[in-house]
């Protein structure tokens, strides 16, 4: 090697880089003025809603973004839907976490572009509130949702997070409580304070989501998450920091595998997961201090290409006959109480093991919770944008170790 090709290449590199930066300066000029906000999107008048639906018609296809394990493995409900309506469904399990999903759809929706989906499922909470306020969601045409009006339970209608169901219809609800592996935990777990027991050091899993974690902290400190104040948040965060050395990991998704395999022995968990995805030795409990109830909601992005088809699907799912087998599979709390009768009839007609299973299912308090259970459940605190920032500043550092 006679000369120094590496160094020489470095020189031209640098010059090229400067040139690129110069051209990119155009982009800087565009970005320098900031990125405008679009708050206030949640205020939609009836005429604006009618305007959205004017001239839109059924296209015979629909793409749906959902969470893993949220329709049957053989997609029976979707196939029946296609049979009944002629609408082809392109179903994708692409949502792992609400915040991550929001990160993916934020830019295209802000720019008014399609996200490739006509229907998506978003949990009530920070991101749904952001989608509403940013005007990312299509206002629903309730005249085309007769099944919703007729069949969805009163307690699932007109929720605080979406008054009048302007943008959303509930898909399934679930409870955040504690799952534990009876192979390793020999005593019954009854309380959030069991997650503070030094006996289980390194075997405790917590959730990384700030709303879930914050709510758990508030149950631990005796505050009501729904009505909590910033002072309660600070107190809860202090408790969670105290707990930190005992925690194996702050999970976003894969906790159920960890508790099934025994990497953690007890962990914060969602009811349906613990029931349908975990091994038989995993128990789920709603702690005596209470648990969090959340709702995953069907909604239509404003830029959807097939919104009428999506609306059709939403209404279809509110039919008890349709919803019953779906509920049987996902084992979460359905917003359609009529499914209980459908399943009871099915149980009466069945015999042997199937009958026993169905009867047990109907009595499962995690699917059809009793009033007493429901009374112990709390929702996430509804947060304004300022509160959200304060809330996350208090709780995310616990997960981030800072």
């Amino acid at each position: 090697m006679k000369h120094d090709p590496l160094l020489r290449r470095g020189m031209t590199h640098r010059r090229d880089f400067l040139r690129l930066v110069g051209l990119g300066g155009l982009g800087l000029a565009a970005a320098a003025c900031g990125v405008g906000g679009q708050g206030g999107g949640e205020k939609v008048t009836a005429s604006e809603a009618a305007e959205f639906w004017r001239g839109k018609s059924q296209n015979g296809r629909l793409s749906w973004a959902n969470w893993v394990g949220y329709v049957e493995d053989d997609r029976a409900t979707l196939k029946n839907f296609t049979k009944a309506t002629g609408i082809e469904v392109d179903y994708k399990e692409v949502i792992n976490e609400t915040s991550e999903w929001f990160g993916k759809i934020n830019e295209p929706l802000r720019a008014g572009q399609s996200i490739g989906f006509d229907l998506m499922v978003i949990t009530n909470g920070i991101q749904l509130e952001q989608c509403r306020r940013l005007g990312y969601l299509a206002p629903l045409d309730h005249s085309r949702l007769p099944n919703f009006a007729a069949n969805v339970g009163a307690s699932f209608k007109d929720p605080a997070y979406d008054p009048g169901n302007t943008f959303t219809v509930p898909y399934m609800s679930g409870i955040t409580g504690i799952a534990y592996n009876t192979k390793y935990v020999k005593e019954p777990i009854t309380s959030w304070s069991d997650l503070l027991n030094p006996k289980y050091k390194g075997k405790i899993g917590m959730m990384g989501d700030s709303q879930e974690l914050g709510s758990a902290g508030m149950f631990l400190t005796g505050a009501d998450p729904e009505k909590s104040t910033p002072a309660d948040w600070e107190k809860a965060a202090a408790k969670l920091r105290e707990q930190r050395p005992l925690v194996r990991k702050y999970y976003f998704q894969d906790y159920i595998e960890a508790v099934t395999k025994g990497d953690v022995w007890l962990t914060m968990a969602w009811s349906g997961d613990a029931y349908s995805l975990a091994g038989p030795e995993v128990e789920f409990v709603i702690p005596e201090e209470g648990g969090t109830i959340w709702t995953d909601n069907l909604c239509i992005p404003r830029t959807a290409e097939n919104p009428v088809d999506a609306l059709k699907m939403i209404d279809y799912l509110c039919d008890p006959e349709v919803n019953a087998p779906l509920t049987e599979f996902v084992t979460y709390i359905t917003p359609v109480p009529g499914t209980k009768d459908v399943l009871r009839r099915k149980a009466d007609a069945a015999s042997g093991e199937e009958k026993a299973e169905l009867t047990e299912f109907l009595e499962n308090p995690l699917v059809y919770p009793a009033e007493a259970d429901l009374a112990r459940l709390r929702r996430y605190r509804t947060l304004s944008q300022e509160e959200k920032e304060q809330y996350q500043k208090i709780f995310t550092p616990i997960v981030q170790d800072s």
Binding site: G25, G27, L28
Partner: protein, 284 residues
């Protein structure tokens, strides 16, 4: 005329690609890193340099930890990859390409999937630890997942080929007559290695170290999948700031800080034991 234009034309497609997908996003990110605001009300450009200082104050230790993990993984990669590359280059004979393929084989599987599969191997009561615990070799509470070791091991595994290939290329090009000459001059095997093989392979080591250290320090998958509460790396922080908190300015400022640190590190590294010495050694 044609001759003079040709190189530019050849650079054009790649250049445009870089411009569109590297330079422009980079400039946008630089702009974002000085803004303030939130995702609902919008972000305003206020040239807020405090985004940088605050990021360093809050997450300084995560930067240090990431660089430390990157360094550990690089050293581990070097120790593992060098003998393997040397063996393939010198001893594998006609089967060289087969062994190279074996080295690259894990790359045919998705990065995340490979990392997740480690969780099965290292599970507290999995095939390895469960068995050893059953034999009484390990105490019951012993675990690997959720420790620094698991994260660094994951990084090492995932970036090993980046180290092995450049070293292999450097060694493969080595003229066998040099080795013969060394032997003719009564050099022992150790001397041959230290005075001939090693210096000649340094450019490969140099390239391999950079290609391992930079992505390993910026990685977040390994810490997320294999780590525990004390293994959060700066990549995880940037991920959370971007996706969970939607705090784009902080995420951008942290990204730029990381980039600056890595660039400075690579530059110093190149200065200290980098290109010139390496090339000098190669010339000797």
């Amino acid at each position: 005329m044609r001759g003079r234009l040709a190189p530019y034309l050849m650079v054009l497609p790649g250049g445009l690609w870089l411009l569109a997908f590297f330079a422009v996003p980079l400039v946008l990110m630089a702009s974002f890193s000085l803004m303030t605001g939130n995702v609902v009300d919008g972000f305003d450009q206020v040239l807020r340099w405090r985004n940088y200082t605050e990021g360093l104050e809050l997450y300084g230790d995560k930067f240090v930890r990431s660089l430390w993990y990157g360094l550990l993984a690089t050293v581990a990669c070097l120790l593992l990859a060098y003998p393997a590359a040397a063996w393939i280059a010198f001893r594998a004979g006609r089967r060289k390409s087969v062994y190279l393929l074996l080295l690259l084989l894990p790359f045919f599987v998705s990065f995340v999937l490979r990392t997740v599969s480690w969780k099965f191997v290292l599970a507290d009561n999995g095939i390895v630890l469960g068995t050893l615990k059953g034999w009484g070799v390990l105490p019951d509470g012993f675990h690997v997942l959720g420790t620094t070791f698991a994260v660094v091991a994951g990084l090492t595994y995932n970036f090993l080929p980046f180290m092995a290939l450049p070293i292999y290329v450097a060694l493969e090009r080595l003229d066998p007559r040099m080795l013969e000459a060394a032997r003719d001059l009564y050099a022992s095997r150790a001397q041959t290695f230290l005075r001939v093989v090693l210096p000649l392979s340094l450019p490969g080591v140099f390239a391999g170290a950079i290609m391992t250290f930079v992505p390993a320090s910026a990685d977040y998958v390994n810490a997320e999948v294999l780590g525990g509460t004390e293994n959060v790396m700066i990549g995880n922080i940037i991920w959370t700031e971007y996706f969970v908190n939607n705090d784009y300015p902080t995420a951008s400022a942290l990204s730029f800080t990381l980039m600056a640190i890595l660039l400075a590190g690579v530059f110093l590294y190149a200065r200290a034991l980098g290109t010139e010495d390496v090339l000098e050694a190669a010339r000797r």
